[in-house]
């Protein structure tokens, strides 16, 4: 084994290791755009991921329909042949219906917020070592997506862009402990900070911290963003599930069930610009 450490092969591997270390240090120092190696790999891999995601959804929908048709067949054997003929059309129509509904919801957002510049995107990858259900989308710098752009679904706020490639971007969700979003209870007007919590993230929830002790916020209250440059004002975040005292009982915190189903999202919208958006040095 000692020969290996004296060989040219070891020196080559050491060179590769030093190169990777260099890229890692560069990525840590300059977080503006993904490193070049990542850009190249992303340009190749993202279209494959998009294709794989589409196939997975189509096949999943097909088998879902199949199971339903099977149940109907048990109850209505005489209709089996007709169901089989219609099944394929049903899958197609269902896909169109879902796509249509999603686009209509996005159109509603656009109509309600004419200042929003939106970019529709599909969730193409969820890494096995994901951080709090973060994911990758199929739009990047080429589509005008920039670091820290808010990401939404028709239901509400999803997260924020944390890394951008040419044709992909990574989204850190509001379930992440590193994300902080200014928000308020729409009924009581109490202001707090939406952030992730490790124990709540497993249930798909986040929390609204730093609520005043005397706050009357209660379960069922709607929480929306309070603007401030990074996020548009009045974006729906979710609904309060529970309110309790924080550690030290200095303030209250509320468990919030995000309006968006972050764990199973397939389509999102990136808000590329909005009225009052803060110009960031990183963008």
């Amino acid at each position: 084994m000692g020969d290996f450490f004296k060989s040219a092969r070891f020196k080559i591997l050491l060179g590769v290791l030093i190169m990777l270390l260099f890229f890692m240090l560069r990525a840590a120092y300059n977080n503006e755009m993904a490193p070049m190696l990542s850009q190249i790999a992303g340009a190749v891999i993202t279209p494959l991921q998009k294709a794989s995601s589409t196939i997975s959804t189509t096949v999943g929908n097909y088998f879902q329909r199949y199971a339903q048709a099977d149940q109907i067949a048990q109850e209505n054997e005489q209709l089996q042949e007709q169901v089989n003929q219609l099944r394929e059309q049903l899958v197609e129509l269902e896909n169109y219906r879902q796509e249509n509904a999603t686009l209509k919801e996005f159109l509603d957002i656009k109509e309600e917020n004419p200042d929003f510049e939106l970019e529709p995107a599909a969730v193409v990858a969820r890494d096995p070592n994901h951080r709090f259900y973060s994911f990758t989308i199929d739009k990047g710098a080429l589509a005008g997506v920039a670091l820290r752009d808010p990401v939404i679904s028709p239901e509400g706020l999803v997260g924020v862009i944390s890394e951008v490639g040419y044709n992909w971007a990574k989204v850190t969700t509001i379930l992440d402990v590193e994300v902080n979003v200014g928000a308020y209870d729409i009924r009581t007007r109490d202001i707090g900070l939406i952030t992730g919590d490790i124990s709540l993230a497993a249930q798909g929830r986040c929390k609204l911290t730093y609520l005043p002790r005397e706050s009357s916020a209660t379960a069922g209250d709607l929480v929306v963003t309070n603007g401030g440059g990074l996020f548009p004002k009045d974006l729906v975040v979710g609904e309060i599930v529970n309110v309790a005292f924080d550690k030290g009982e200095i303030s209250l915190f509320a468990e919030v069930q995000p309006a968006a189903d972050i764990q199973t999202l397939t389509d999102v919208m990136v808000i590329k610009s909005f009225y009052g958006q803060e110009e960031s040095d990183d963008e």
Partner: protein, 178 residues
Amino acid sequence: MTNKRGIYAAKFLTYLGVLAILYVVQTTPGFLSIFGVAPNLALAAAVYIAVQEGEFIGGLYGAWAGLLCDLGGFTIFGFNAILIMIFCVTAGLLSIYMLRRTIQNYVGMVFAAMLIRGLLDYLLNYYMWGYEQVWRVLTGQILPCVIYTTAASPLCFYLLGWIYRWFSEKIDPQRSVS
């Protein structure tokens, strides 16, 4: 000779492609995912390549698999590339000098690599930052991923084993490959 070079080139390109495909499969939303946990097949495949091809080739493919993992991962870029490269060099050296190339040893190496990767990820990206109830990340996400990957690794063993034998027979038809 030229034909053999062509076969070697085809083999190494196939490895690159297989790693990329496994990465795409493991990151496809909803596919292979059980309760939000998915296996890291790219790492398992890279370890197999290291076991069969040795520490040098294995190290390079480990770096490639790690770069793919860094592409979709949320750790700092290079974290997975460096770790998986080191794991693969180690796996290659172990299979040359100390361990037989059996499925048990391979599964053990995948388990060890995933566990060390997971523990370092936990230590550097979660534990050191002092989050509340941080152990939940370890028990609810990292360890299940380690177990799932270990359980799924025999699939990589047989898939890549088949590819390795197929190319070995083309390169040297006289030699039987175990």
